[in-house]
């Protein structure tokens, strides 16, 4: 369970990205965060695995306050959280398999990982993650030979190989075409249901967020302005979150 208690974040340049967030996210939820760009979605998401440090308030993960942890404790926390990025963030010239197994490095000592050998059961785990994402046949191709959708699946397989309890996704489909977008979102749904992994995703396309997530969090100007079931969203609520009606690029429109 993740609990935000009056979380604030002010960047060094004075920009206040989060202005007092109070949230509770339970295990197994599929949460979509929506809002204008610059509303604080990314900051909110990245504060959970401390890729960004909050400046005020308390943030609990499984009842452990994380804003002050660092070093080994921090790495152990990050190890239990997968992260998916808009631009996939794979090592493009490395094989798919090596990209996926790199999700395991935090489980080993630095010295062991420098040599680059992993136990057999972890190699099998990596291959099984690829299998779950349906790209096992690409395992030994170079990552940059794959299409965008396939690369995002490799990134998902890397996250699965971490055996996380939670996956954070920062605009996971924003650089994909409509068809692969649906496929990747289906993969997210599968991970959520079959593996029981909590998913928190920043979504640019509102209709996708409504279709796939059970819960929607609307962020506006560093504050949560809506928090509820995706079925409860109305036109008025969206106008409130976005301050205007949606632009056509904010809906995928199947």
């Amino acid at each position: 369970m993740i609990r935000f208690v009056d979380v604030k974040k002010t960047y060094l340049n004075g920009v206040q990205a989060l202005k007092g967030i109070n949230l509770e996210i339970h295990d197994g939820e599929f949460v979509a965060i929506i809002g204008l760009s610059g509303a604080g979605k990314s900051t909110l998401l990245r504060s959970i695995n401390k890729m960004i440090d909050i400046t005020e308030g308390e943030l609990y993960i499984d009842d452990v306050e994380i804003s002050s942890i660092k070093g080994k404790e921090l790495r152990m926390l990050r190890r239990s959280i997968g992260m998916i990025f808009q631009s996939f963030n794979l090592v493009r010239r490395m094989s798919v398999f090596n990209n996926v197994i790199s999700g395991r490095v935090a489980y080993h000592s630095t010295f062991k990982t420098l040599i680059g050998r992993f136990p057999a059961q972890e190699k099998i785990l990596a291959l099984e993650s690829l299998e779950a994402m349906g790209i096992l046949d690409k395992a030994f191709a170079r990552a940059d030979q794959l299409s965008g959708g396939q690369q995002q699946r490799v990134a998902l397989a890397r996250a699965l190989t971490q055996q996380p309890k939670l996956i954070l996704a920062d605009e996971p489909v924003a650089s994909l075409d409509p068809i692969t977008t649906i496929q990747v979102m289906d993969d997210f749904a599968k991970i959520n249901k079959e593996f029981g992994i909590t998913i928190i995703a920043n979504m640019h396309h509102v209709d996708l967020a409504l279709k796939y997530a059970n819960r929607i969090i609307g962020v506006k100007d560093g504050l949560v302005v809506f928090d509820g079931k995706s079925t409860d969203i109305t036109e008025d609520i969206l106008v409130n979150i976005y301050g205007r009606t949606l632009k056509h690029d904010e809906v995928l429109g199947e």
């Binding site: 890729m51 152990m76 190890r79 790199s102 935090a106 990982t113």
Partner: protein, 274 residues
């Protein structure tokens, strides 16, 4: 300074880039100083030709009578002996220097360590070492360990370190940091993130620099002889002392082939690593 007036009436001023002023001043200084640089007037092409002939044919005057047979014998037996010694020292120096340069270059890379207090001292050390001429390093090494191969290896290690560390941290700073961020998000520490996100990216460049530094070392090895370490330079030294320019010509021929072979090898391995 350039001004743009838009149709809306807004005026946008593109700031003048000061670098051009700096470069212009440097250019003026170089031109002015150039007036005082002395070029010997007697060195004409007509003077160079007989000298080249002395280098690339066997010596035949009152101090030495040699045949083409002697010349080729020299190229195929004596020079390779010294060449092998040189290559051994160069490989040793290149490998040791580059291996030490790798962690240093990571510690000096501003995209890996955002903190200036970490990168600056390492950059400082690297700059100091790079400033010391290779000749001085070798002389110091000879003082410490004597005139054996070890002196050459130590000298070359420091020399290789200087070049390699600088080139590497610049490559690291231009690599794609997205994968590094992804690795850090999985809980990897900086060393692990470097190993799995950056090293695969810089590896082909690292290898190609390694071969390049090795090549520089082979050429620089000529100076080792002048501080007493046996190398390909020993032949040049003997040739200069006795006026045996055909020895020097032989060294030039052999080195040319060696450098070409290294280049071909470098191209081949880079093609394999792409």
């Amino acid at each position: 300074m350039t001004r743009f007036t838009l149709t809306s009436g807004k005026v946008i001023v593109k700031p003048f880039n000061k670098i051009w002023i700096v470069l212009f001043v440097i250019l003026i200084i170089v031109v002015v100083l150039g007036q005082y640089i002395y070029f010997p007037e007697y060195l004409t092409l007509a003077e160079i030709w007989p000298f080249l002939k002395k280098m690339f044919s066997p010596r035949n005057d009152i101090f030495g009578h040699r045949t083409w047979g002697d010349y080729f014998n020299y190229i195929f037996t004596i020079i390779p002996y010294y060449l092998l010694k040189t290559i051994k020292m160069s490989i040793g120096g290149t490998v040791i220097g580059s291996a030490i340069a790798l962690p240093f270059s990571v510690l000096a890379a501003k995209n890996v360590f955002k903190n200036k207090w970490i990168t600056s001292p390492f950059r400082f050390i690297m700059n100091i070492i790079r400033t010391i001429p290779a000749a001085v390093m070798v002389i110091v090494a000879v003082f410490i360990v004597g005139t054996g191969n070890l002196a050459g290896i130590i000298g070359f290690s420091l020399f290789s370190f200087g070049i390699m560390a600088k080139m590497l941290y610049e490559v690291i700073e231009t690599s794609d940091m997205n994968s590094f961020e992804a690795l850090e998000s999985t809980g990897a520490n900086k060393t692990q993130a470097f190993r799995y996100a950056l090293l695969p990216q810089i590896f082909p460049i690292f290898i190609s620099y390694l071969i390049y530094v090795f090549e520089i070392n082979i050429r620089a090895s000529a100076l080792l002889a002048f501080v007493g370490v046996e190398s390909i330079g020993s032949i040049i030294q003997v040739g200069l002392d006795g006026g045996d320019f055909d020895y020097i010509g032989g060294v030039v021929i052999v080195l040319t082939f060696v450098i070409i072979i290294i280049q071909l090898f470098s191209n081949w391995i880079r093609g394999k690593l792409q």
